[in-house]
């Protein structure tokens, strides 16, 4: 179902930020609700909408109740907050950072010690001031205000499969592991052939990260990428089973490309975790939104780009920071809307005629991929496209074409051994 306006949001208290906040707070032993409320108000303080003295008065009692009177760090912090002049330019975040420096603690430790309130203050204060604290060489795992995502304009797609090929080559995928997948389909109420371009949706509320028993599938806090730690994954495939979109591809046998073909810079992300390129045997893989590019491992000019986006000659794929109004996914959408003007002589019309949607929005996963075009209905049927997978050297039915043969070949090998 097309939803025209929902995808335009870039406001500060968006649901995913609140959810992110709740996730952090749930890991602490303190009151989540209080933390979130404080965090929101802290941001209002930072934005100058709420006086800091007022903020202090409002939460003093709650804080005492929740954390006890003896928490000197917290009281100290709140005193500081209370004493800061509105005009001196110092925000809550600076105070926090100062506190962290003084005690020689990492921001993470401060969050743990101070519990919910400090965690809330820390994250939201810095977000409010638009400071990317952890991006500055710390290699940390805290939200830096980036939310990588895509706008995919299906009206532009011509089904050439160049994006699939580029993805396959860049990540050294095994046959049939189509991290990027392009459907050609026919639908009851749409003319001719239609396309649906399907990378991983990098959901804000991703089922796969929830169900992972070992935390291998995780959301990278700093920028919302949904990644798999190949060194932790036990290969239970629960993420694959829980994903509504079928974007996961398990490494059933030996990978087609040995690890020696993959430079370490492509495998390790900036936190030093092995999450990039194809997975090793026995482990789950899927689209990473080219995490190596985002970490600057392929050069600064590749940050904010993906292999599929680069390969797309039709200007269908637009990757970038959804929180940045100037980013490719946001500007493309705006421009495209401007080009599709509506006849405003009729009342109550929108200014444009662009239909947008998130894939299976009703699943509640809040994907970071948004589409321009029409969503396939339940009656849609996949048909052969203008360019076949075979033509470009790709495999569609991995089971029939790769695994079944591979299993036989491997069995023979096993018997010899």
């Amino acid at each position: 179902m097309p939803d025209e306006d929902k995808t335009d949001q870039t406001t500060s208290f968006s649901e995913d930020e609140t959810r992110r906040m709740e996730r952090v707070l749930d890991d602490t032993e303190y009151d989540t609700e209080l933390g979130v409320e404080m965090a929101k108000d802290a941001q209002r303080v930072a934005a100058g909408e709420l006086g800091e003295a007022e903020f202090y008065r409002q939460y003093h009692e709650d804080i005492l109740e929740e954390f006890g009177e003896d928490d000197r760090e917290l009281n100290g912090l709140l005193d500081d907050v209370g004493n800061v002049d509105a005009g001196d330019g110092e925000g809550v975040g600076d105070k926090l950072q100062a506190l962290a420096d003084e005690k020689d603690l990492s921001r993470r430790e401060v969050m743990k010690k101070g519990g919910a309130a400090v965690a809330a203050l820390s994250i939201f204060a810095s977000a409010g001031e638009n400071r990317a604290a952890s991006a500055e060489g710390e290699g940390g795992d805290e939200y830096d205000g980036t939310r990588w995502g895509m706008t995919i304009n299906l009206n532009n797609c011509d089904g050439c499969l160049a994006c699939m090929v580029a993805c396959d080559q860049e990540h050294k995928l095994s046959g049939g592991a189509n991290w990027m997948y392009v459907f050609t389909y026919e639908d009851d109420h749409q003319d001719d052939e239609n396309f649906l371009v399907r990378p991983c949706q990098h959901c804000t509320d991703s089922p796969c990260t929830k169900v992972c028993p070992v935390g291998a599938r995780h959301t990278r806090e700093q920028d919302g990428l949904v990644l798999t730690d190949y060194e932790i994954c036990i290969g239970c495939r629960y993420c694959e089973v829980s994903c509504p979109y079928g974007v996961n591809y398990f490494q059933w046998g030996e990978p087609d490309h040995p690890q020696s073909e993959i430079p370490e810079s492509q495998s390790q992300d900036e936190r030093g975790r092995w999450v990039g390129a194809r997975p090793p045997e026995g482990v789950m893989g899927k689209c990473t939104f080219c995490v190596d590019r985002q970490d600057g491992k392929m050069g600064d000019d590749k940050i904010g780009t993906t292999a599929c986006e680069e390969a797309c000659a039709m200007d269908a794929i637009h990757f970038g920071d959804l929180n940045d109004p100037e980013s490719a996914p946001n500007t493309h959408l705006e421009q495209y809307k401007d080009e599709q003007e509506n006849d405003m002589t009729f009342q109550n019309r929108k200014e444009h005629t662009v239909s947008t949607f998130q894939l299976m929005e009703e699943r509640g996963t809040d994907p970071n991929v948004r589409y321009v075009g029409n969503e396939p209905s339940q009656d849609a049927e996949q048909v052969e496209g203008p360019v076949s997978y075979e033509d470009v050297g790709l495999v569609d039915d991995r089971k029939e074409e790769v695994l079944d043969n591979g299993a036989m070949a491997n069995q023979e090998g096993g018997e010899e051994a």
Binding site: D26, D27, G176, A177, N178, Y181, F183, Y185, L196, P207, K210, V211, C212, P213, V214, G215, A216, I232, C233, I234, G235, C236, R237, Y238, E240, V241, S242, C243, P244, Y245, G246, V247, N248, Y249, F250, Q251, W252, G253, E254, E281, G282, V283, M284, R363, P376, Q378, E381, Q382, D396, D397, R398, K399, E400, L403, G406, A407, N410, Q411, G414, E415
Partner: protein, 443 residues
Amino acid sequence: MSTDVGRETLTRPIQAPSKRYVGALLAALAGIGVWLFFYYQQLSNGLIVTNLADWGSGGGVPWGLYIGAFIWWVGIAHGGIILSAAVRLLGMDTYQPVARMAELLTIAALTCAGLYIMIHVGRPDRLVTSVVPAWPTRVQWSPLMWDVTVITAYFVLTATYLLLTIRYDIHRLRDRLPDTFEPLYKALMLGYSEKEDQVVERMVWWLAFAIIIMAPLLLHGGVIPWLFALLPSMAGWAGGVQGPSFLSIALTSAVSGIIIIAAAFRYVYDWEELIPDQVFYGLSKWLGFFALLFLWLQLQQVMTGIFAAPTTLQHATEVKLSTPVYWVAIGLVGLGLLYIFASALKASLFSIPRIVAVSFLVLVGTLIEKTLFVVEGLQHAHFALYDGVPGHYIPSPVELSSILGAVGIVVLFFLVVSKVIPVVELHAIQDHHDDAEATEVSD
């Protein structure tokens, strides 16, 4: 006098192995051997030797027989201990002769369930290194971690239960037990005095109480079905009926398992007196009752799935109904149910070989149903645009051999354990004493 005869009867399996015993041992080892041969291939080549594949564009299912069998074994494990706990809590003394076998079955079946998790995952070597460190943070999120937790707790409870009750028997039967295992008995009897019997009685009662609450509410009526019921992506899985449905299947399988094992011991060791017909007759009624629940819950799912269901659920249900092997599963359980009803009406129809055959067929039926549930659930995702959905799946020889291996492990377990400890509680013949005398008189 009769108690003495009873004790002789009770320790009969512990005497020197018969030819039949050796035969059974070899068969069990052969089964395990076949599976190990195939499993070696899986270890050296990866899961590519199974017929599993990715759902979606991959055209297959990522979960198959391994997960189906995992659920099935946990189900069998259930009933064992539930039955034993019921004997203790509700005073169902009739079933006392099979209570310990049921407990042992729980231990063996849980071991097999664990084994299936091990062979299902792509990196079994990481089961400890990844799972243990992740536990504190993941247990609040992942249903799979809930499973690991509850099954471990259940295993510990059952093992403790068994250990506590064994001490009483070993102490009293020590003179009849082989000296070869003296160090083991010493370890088992560490710090024993007869004064503990009463305390242990209370402890065991509470353990039984915990088990009987935990098993239906948390295990097979809880975390196992929740693995599936909580995932809205797959139409055939999501929903509140899975808890009751899984539990009914578990209990059906479990009673079948106990019937088969009890009948095997009775047959081999001439235990007609120790495990009288009445026990089997009673168990068969329970089997009938649970099978009825199982079929009734299937009916619930079918009706809600086809009348005016959402498109994907309707599709999943229609495909299920048009799958012949689904009707094989339902048919096997249905036929078993018919036989049990008929023999309840006309007792002369009842015989132990027949109820054993029924139990065997029911177990085949429940294994098929569980595997089909896993596979078909995956084949009908809400996102049905892929040409590869529904994919097809037939277990590979590697996967099928695991059934042989797991059954071999259970048989081996019973063969070994029965040589070391009495598989029937001493309480059974003590309580049974009066009945036994009565039978002897009638003989």
